[in-house]
C-alpha cells in the first residue's frame, strides 16, 4: 500500500515539476502576501481628519484645539467659524470629525461655570467613531478641571494589558493573516487535483491500475502537504522576524497544529475536487467556501463572541476558527496544550470527516 501511495505521489511531483510556476506560486505567494498585508493592515486609528469650528475665538478655545492637534491622533484639515460648512466637509469624507467650540466657552471657563464642547462625528464607521470619541474624551479631560460635587471619591481603573501590552494590532492580525492565506493555499492546491483528471479523461487510466481510493488521495495530497508546510514555516518565520509576533510557546506543538490545519484545508480541496464535474465548478466552490468564511467567520477580523448565537454555531465548521485560537494561544500567550486541546480535537475531527467523505466519493467514481 505504501509503495502504491508513493508511486502516486511521485507521479504528482513529476507533473508539478513540469508546471514549476504552480509550486513557485504555492510557496512564495503566501510569504509575499503575509509580508505585504502585514505592513498594510492595522486597526490602530490614526490620522483622523479633524475640522475645528471655533465660534468663540478665545484663548481657552485655542488651547483646547491645540491639545487635540498635539495629541498626534488627528490631522488638521481646516478651520472655520460656520457650522453649516460642516455638512460639506463630512459628506465628501474630507473630514471625519469636527470639534465645535461654542461662543462663550472661554467666558464660562474663566468664570468657572459648567460648559460644553461639541464633537460632530461621522458615525458610518462605528469602530473608528468609538475610538475617536474615546480619544477626544481623554483629551478634554486632560486639559479641563474636575469639580468635586459630593463627598464620595471617584472610582478609577488601573488598566493592565497582557500578552500584547501596547495593543498593537499587527501582533493580533498577522497570525490571522497567516491562517487565512494558508487556508486559501491549501484549498487551491488540491481543488483541481481530481477533477482535472476527470476532465482530461486520465482518471480512466488510473481506474485500470490496482490503486485504491485512499492510496490515490493520500498520494495526491502528500506533495501538496509538503509544499504547504514549507509555505507555513516560511510565513510564520516572517511574522516572527518582521512583525514582532513573539513565538512564546513550543515550536513542536506549533508544527503539529499547523499540519493538522493544512490537512483539513487540503482535504476540503480534495473533497470539492471529487464532487465537481468541471474545473470551473471546483474553482468557484473552492473560492466561495474558503475566501469569505475563513476571513469573516474565523475570528480573524470580527470577534466570534459578538456574533449571534446561531452564527457562532455555524462558525464551528470553519477550521480556521480552531487553528486561530490555538495559534494565538501558542504564539502570543505561550500556553501549553492543556489550554487549547479542544481546538486540536476540532481540527482532527474536521480533517477526518472531510477526508473520509472524499475517500467515499472517490471509491464511487473509481
Amino acid at each position: 500500500m505504501i509503495r502504491r501511495t508513493l508511486a502516486v505521489a511521485v507521479k504528482e511531483l513529476l507533473q508539478l515539476r513540469r508546471d514549476w510556476r504552480v509550486v513557485f506560486t504555492l510557496v512564495l505567494m503566501p510569504v509575499a502576501l503575509v509580508l505585504i498585508y502585514g505592513y498594510a493592515l492595522s486597526f490602530d486609528v490614526e490620522h483622523i481628519r479633524l475640522v475645528i469650528v471655533d465660534q468663540d475665538g478665545s484663548r481657552a478655545a485655542r488651547e483646547v484645539a491645540r491639545a487635540f492637534l498635539s495629541s498626534g491622533h488627528f490631522d488638521h484639515i481646516g478651520t472655520t467659524r460656520d457650522v453649516r460648512e460642516l455638512d460639506r466637509w463630512l459628506d465628501t469624507g474630507h473630514a471625519q470629525v469636527a470639534l465645535v467650540v461654542p461662543s462663550g466657552y472661554g467666558a464660562d471657563l474663566a468664570a468657572h461655570r459648567f460648559t460644553t464642547l461639541q464633537l460632530v462625528l461621522d458615525g458610518s464607521d462605528s469602530q473608528t467613531a468609538n475610538t475617536v470619541l474615546a480619544y477626544a474624551q481623554q483629551i478634554v479631560a486632560s486639559v479641563t478641571p474636575l469639580v468635586r460635587v459630593s463627598g464620595t471619591g471617584p472610582a478609577l481603573a488601573a488598566p493592565l494589558v497582557w500578552y500584547n501590552p501596547d495593543l498593537a494590532s499587527a501582533r493580533f492580525l498577522v497570525p490571522g493573516l497567516v491562517a487565512f492565506i494558508l487556508m486559501i493555499t491549501a484549498v487551491i492546491a488540491t481543488a483541481l487535483a481530481v477533477v482535472r483528471e476527470k476532465e482530461r479523461g486520465t482518471l480512466e487510466s488510473l481506474r485500470a491500475t490496482p490503486l485504491m481510493a485512499l492510496e490515490l488521495l493520500i498520494g495526491k495530497t502528500l506533495p501538496y502537504l509538503v509544499i504547504a508546510s514549507a509555505a507555513a514555516a516560511a510565513s510564520l518565520t516572517l511574522a516572527w522576524a518582521l512583525f514582532d509576533v513573539p513565538i512564546r510557546g513550543s515550536l513542536g506543538w506549533l508544527a503539529v497544529v499547523t499540519v493538522l490545519y493544512l490537512l483539513g484545508g487540503l482535504g476540503w480541496g480534495v473533497l470539492i475536487s471529487t464532487l465537481a464535474e468541471t474545473q470551473q465548478v471546483a474553482f468557484q466552490v473552492s473560492l466561495l467556501s474558503s475566501m469569505l468564511p475563513t476571513m469573516l467567520l474565523s475570528g480573524f477580523i470580527f470577534p466570534i463572541s459578538s456574533m449571534p448565537e446561531a452564527l457562532q454555531w455555524i462558525s464551528h465548521i470553519v477550521p480556521a476558527r480552531y487553528f486561530l485560537v490555538a495559534l494565538r494561544a501558542i504564539v502570543l500567550k505561550g500556553a501549553g496544550p492543556e489550554m487549547w486541546w479542544q481546538q486540536v480535537v476540532g481540527l482532527v475531527v474536521y480533517a477526518t470527516v472531510v477526508g473520509s467523505l472524499a475517500t467515499a466519493r472517490t471509491v464511487r467514481s473509481l
Binding site: D91, H112, T144, L160, L192, Q280, L287, I301, S306, K333
Partner: protein
C-alpha cells in the same frame, strides 16, 4: 452586430447546460450575505469577564452588578484569589479580569480615589481595547457620583446615530460578494476554451477578438446585475440598512463596477495557460489585494503612504465608498462623481488591456 448576437446565444446556451452553476450564481450571493452580514460586526458585546472581589462590600457588589447589567460584558468566572485570574485569561475563559482590592469602598467613602484593576487579554487587540473602553465607561458612570468635569464633551453622531457597525459592514460585505462572484464568472472563460481546444474552432470563424470579448462579457454582466438585484433586498429588508440615497444611482454605479471585475476576470483568462493558473491568479493576485486594500475592514488612512497609492487601482475601494455613501449619507453623483469616473476609467482600461492580450495570444 449579428456575429455578436451569435456568440451571445452560444454563451447563454453553455451557461444553461451546466445545471450546477445556476444555483451557485443566483442563490449563493444572497445566502452568503444573510450569513456573513451577521458575522461582520465590530461591535464588541458579551466580552467574557472574570471577577475577583477582594473588598466584598455592598459597593463592590454594586460595581460588579453594573458590569453584569451592561450588554458589553458577561461574567464567566469568579475567583477569590488573584492568582486564579491567570488561568482564566490563559485558557480564554475570560478576556478581561476585574479585581476590586480590599478597601475599595472605604477609600471612596473617605473621599479618596478608589482604584480597581482591569486586566485585559491583548492578544485580540481589537476587542481588548474596546473592552477597556467599555469598562472605563462603566466605571465613569459609577464615579459620576463624586465629581463632575467642568467641561462636558457632547458628541453628535451623523449618518449612523446608534453607531451600529452593521450599517457600515453589510454594504461592504455585499460588494465583496459581488466582486468575488463576478470575477469568478469570466476568470476561466477563455482559458477553458483554449485548454479544451474549442478556441481553435472559434478562431476559424469570422469573429473578431472584440466580438469574442464582448460575447463573453455581456451575458455575465447580466448575471452580475441579477446578483446585485438579489443581494440588495437582503441588505435593505433583512438587515434593514437604511437607504438614504437613490436606488437608481446605486444601480447605475454598479454597472462600471461589474465591468471592472468581469474585465479583470477576462484579463486573467487571457494571461493564464491552464485553469489552475487562472485560479491562483484570481485568488492571490486579484482578489486578495482588492479585499484587503479596499478599506472594507482596515481603514485606508491607517496604511503606509505607498499602499494608499496602490488602493487607487482597486475598483472595490471606489464601489465600497459609493455604497456606503449612498446607503448611509444619502449622497449622490454630485459628491461621488470622482469615484464614478475612476471606476469607469478603470473598467475601460482593463477591458482594453484584456483585448490587447487576447489579440497577442491569438497572433
Amino acid at each position: 452586430m449579428r456575429a455578436l448576437l451569435v456568440i451571445l446565444v452560444k454563451e447563454l446556451r453553455q451557461l444553461r447546460r451546466d445545471p450546477k452553476i445556476l444555483p451557485i450564481l443566483f442563490l449563493a450571493p444572497a445566502f452568503q450575505l444573510v450569513i456573513l452580514g451577521y458575522a461582520a460586526t465590530t461591535d464588541v458585546r458579551h466580552v467574557e469577564l472574570a471577577v475577583c472581589d477582594l473588598d466584598r462590600s455592598a459597593e463592590s457588589r454594586r460595581l460588579v452588578q453594573r458590569f453584569e447589567g451592561s450588554t458589553y460584558f458577561r461574567v464567566t468566572g469568579r475567583v477569590d484569589d488573584q492568582n486564579g485570574l491567570d488561568r482564566l485569561l490563559q485558557d480564554g475563559t475570560a478576556r478581561v479580569a476585574l479585581t476590586i482590592p480590599a478597601g475599595f469602598a472605604a477609600e471612596r467613602n473617605a473621599g479618596r480615589v478608589g482604584t480597581v484593576q482591569l486586566l485585559t487579554d491583548g492578544s485580540d487587540a481589537m476587542s481588548g481595547s474596546a473592552a477597556l473602553g467599555y469598562a472605563n465607561g462603566v466605571l465613569r458612570s459609577v464615579a459620576a457620583a463624586g465629581v463632575r468635569p467642568l467641561v462636558e464633551l457632547r458628541p453628535v453622531v451623523l449618518y449612523n446615530p446608534d453607531l451600529a457597525s452593521r450599517n457600515f459592514m453589510v454594504p461592504a460585505v455585499l460588494s465583496l460578494i459581488l466582486m468575488i462572484m463576478t470575477m469568478m464568472l469570466t476568470a476561466m472563460a477563455i482559458v477553458r476554451e483554449s485548454e479544451t481546444g474549442t478556441l481553435e474552432q472559434l478562431l476559424v470563424t469570422p469573429l473578431t477578438p472584440g466580438h469574442l470579448i464582448l460575447g463573453k462579457l455581456i451575458p455575465y454582466a447580466l448575471v452580475g446585475l441579477v446578483e446585485a438585484l438579489s443581494t440588495l433586498p437582503v441588505a435593505l429588508f433583512w438587515f434593514r440598512v437604511p437607504l438614504r440615497g437613490s436606488l437608481l444611482t446605486l444601480l447605475a454605479f454598479t454597472v462600471p463596477f461589474m465591468l471592472c471585475n468581469l474585465g479583470l476576470g477576462l484579463l486573467i483568462s487571457t494571461i493564464s495557460r491552464t485553469q489552475q493558473q487562472a485560479m491562483m491568479l484570481t485568488a492571490f493576485v486579484f482578489m486578495m489585494p482588492q479585499i484587503y486594500l479596499s478599506g472594507f475592514a482596515f481603514p485606508i488612512q491607517n496604511m503606509p503612504k505607498g499602499f494608499q497609492l496602490v488602493t487607487y487601482l482597486v475598483p472595490l475601494r471606489y464601489y465600497i465608498t459609493i455604497l456606503r455613501g449612498i446607503f448611509l449619507k444619502g449622497i449622490g453623483i454630485e459628491v461621488l462623481w470622482p469615484q464614478a469616473l475612476a471606476l469607469t476609467g478603470l473598467g475601460v482600461a482593463i477591458l482594453l488591456l484584456a483585448r490587447m492580450r487576447f489579440r497577442r495570444r491569438l497572433g
